[in-house]
Amino acid sequence: MTALSIFDLLLERVTAGERLTADDIAQLAATPDILSIGMLADALRRQMHGTAVTYVRVASCSYDRSFADAVSPVAREVRVTGSPSTLADALSAVRSAKEVAGERSVSGFSWLDVLRLAAGEGSTAARVLAELRTAGLEALAEIPLDAVEDEAAVVEELHRAGFERLRLTIASAHASAHTARMLRAAALQDRLGGIQAIGPLPMVLDPMRPTTGYDDAKAVAIARLAAPNVATIQVDWQRYGPKLAQVALTFGADDLDNVTASDEAPDGRRRAPLEEVRRNIEAAGFSAAERDGRFNLISR
């Protein structure tokens, strides 16, 4: 079993704290042997986080709806969703989100929204970011690596505007393009710092070319292995769904983002699926810890 011994060597290097090279990662990404990739990623995540899995309860609300109605008191982060067409709309949404959020952090929008709003105002991304920041926005919900040309410039711009704990995402690139993006994210972290998390979002469902579980699990594992200098690999609880999100935890992810704070069940609104989240984390052999929108653990 020669294939096994190659992985054994890689496993030794990972457990010795050595960073895998770009070539190693590319070779891993090319093999269909998802279990070996998962084992390596899992070994690395255990070195970094032990058995801890964090999760955050997020109240999502569209920018044009009432935040007071949508934000549950148990949410730890308020996220503005949707793409407002003007900066004024975006700012008023952030302000009302912040009003409801109080001490809790407010996130929202994608980097692409920032560019679009800037273009609409005849302004610059820096100005738009500064205004959003003043209105109370603490984090962009998505910084899609696969949709920006110069990610270094984006990260620098965000740093300058005072955004911390950046969360880089990959929205729609095919799995084969992930590896290079992840390696670039790791290089960016070496150079500029300030990147808290990478969230490889599951690809948008296209009935003609559906995304698959292998792609999603591999994206998580490759993100973990390629960027050992980024603390957190996230999966989006709602977009992955409970089963795949749980499996992703065994493929290197250590954080469940976007757990609903409350949801509308057919027989009425119920509290967050907290029990379900914790049960899934524990059934995968990990220990669950809640965090807030600033990645601080909440002691219970």
Binding site: L35, M39, P207, G213, D215, P242, Q246
Partner: protein, 400 residues
Amino acid sequence: MIDELASKVLDGSRVTADEALALYRRAPTHLLGRLADAIRARRHPDRIVTYIIDRNVNYTNVCVARCNFCAFYRPVGSSDGYVLGFEEIFRKIDETIAVGGGQLLLQGGHNPDLPIAWYEDLFRAVKARYPEFKLHALSPPEVLHISRMNRVAVPEVIARLVAAGLDSIPGGGAEILVDRVRKLLNCYGKATADQWLDVMREAHRAGLRSTATMMYGTVETDEERIEHLIRLRDLQDETGGFTAFITWSFQPDHTERGGVEATGVDYLRTLALARIVLDNFENLQASWVTQGGKVGQLSLAFGANDMGSVMIEENVVRAAGASYCMDEVEIVTNIEDAGFIPKRRNMHYEVLGDPIFRERDVPRMLALATARAEGDTSVPDELRQYLARSRAGKQLRLAQ
């Protein structure tokens, strides 16, 4: 300890119940996957992953068994109760053939108003109209029900159904083959563990092949899950009649039992364990219909070598809350993405060929059909020819 067990499994040795328990409880998930994958690779070195195009039809939802984990059945006399007409079933067969299918998976409730003649006439009518079409029909509890209702011994029921056109038997109704569990699930009456296995033994003796299943995640202990697997392994040693094994998690929504569903990692571990314990089973199916397409696909790394059926129609799991759908294009994409070669098969796991949609245009199917349109309470004409046993059934006949 786990390392020793792992090398024992890799050497191809059979594991005992205690060893299986140790692996299930203590082996890391990736290790279980690796062991199962090694066995899968040994049995299927060609990297072929199969699937079948067939339709999952439930001829009636009226059932006297009242299993408390079931959201599909309706009691005798319920206004939601239905029996499909022969014409409705022919239409479903036509639609199945149109998308390249050659078989119905035909199962239903234990309806006291369908005598054995109804089944025989249905099977004969199907075979007369579609001589090449296969009937993978009537799980062991249904065979027992027919035997009891008609006072005909099981071997004779099987012989009569085979004479009428039965081709093979699905492994449904096994749940967990431990009587303590069956009593708690209220399915001891429909078939005890021994009775379920006896029907399969008789079917295998009669020359039929069948599948075997396990529904886990209700009240059973880990030990009982393993006992279930070992009982299947023992019968397979004896008859060799099982073609494949399928496991899935209890789907709690809308059931009397309720509760929560076992998680995705539980599923992958259970599947891998089954591959390790069932060393005399050739094929393991992935249950995408309960786990979703993505975890369904990941099953291929945890011991599965078959993506099951495109199903076309599904009523039972849907009633309990799961509504996943995969048509042939999606199943094939998933198999290829995972690095395997997709092949169409029949119930005997004989390869029939490459994906049908690459040979000719097949309509995409983005949702599974149901037994009947919502609110369709029509009673098929031919039912009046068959004697009803229940009071409600008799009244229905009189009204016809």
